[in-house]
Symmetry: C2
Subunit: 134 residues, 2 copies
């Protein structure tokens, strides 16, 4: 037997969808301070071609760098949610576009969310491209 | 306040270390069937430059392909464990070597483990390289 499925209430899924929308809205506005506030204070990004990026200031710098590459908007699509009280494990797909609307990247992600000050924040954030190797 | 830290007993850390060692031993032997048995039956790999790889047969095929690239051994280093009953979230670093001992890759991973039939198995497995982009 596999571990029993954890609670996956519709309301948590809606809360994570809303938190992802706040993230995407901040991204589309180019508001890296708001983006960084979507994360817990001790959050870690695990981006490809980089060491671990830890903490609010480094996370803001990372997204500033990404926006500087001409990536202008994104879309997140949740595949699955596994909840354990104040922790949610989410897998999904991301789609990034340039300002001219071309596809900049598409891939998969796994985010560990923690409830922090009453709201869901990204705590661990790892993703990679689904595009073929160059 | 951040969500209270989940249970992180020494014994669970030791169990995950042992499960990782079984994985690495199977990898070093080139035993893809044993590797696939380290995963839950409904496990997913999320490798870069690929769509999601789901299920035992597809996971065996994936590792057969990796071994075919000349990657001969690996090392896993756990950074952090967060346990929620029969689920463990592990982050860490990996190091892969060729048969001649050269570094093939190094990077970061996040694994969601589920307890399945009394043993810890990888359920979601995502990683990416820490090497600079080519």
């Amino acid at each position: 037997m596999t571990a029993p499925a954890a609670t996956q209430s519709q309301s948590v899924r809606a809360e994570i969808t809303a938190a992802n929308q706040r993230f995407i809205d901040a991204f589309s506005r180019g508001d890296v301070e708001a983006l960084a506030r979507c994360y817990t204070p001790d959050a870690q990004l695990l981006p490809a071609n980089s060491d671990v990026v830890q903490g609010t200031a480094a996370i803001a710098d990372f997204w500033r760098m990404v926006l500087g590459l001409g990536i202008a908007s994104g879309r997140l699509e949740t595949s699955e949610i596994e909840q354990h009280e104040d922790t949610v494990i989410e897998t999904g797909r991301y789609y990034l576009s340039t300002s001219s609307g071309d596809e900049a990247d598409r891939g998969k992600y796994l985010v560990v969310w923690h409830r922090h000050d009453g709201e869901w924040r990204l705590h661990r954030d790892i993703w990679n491209t689904s595009k073929p190797a160059a």
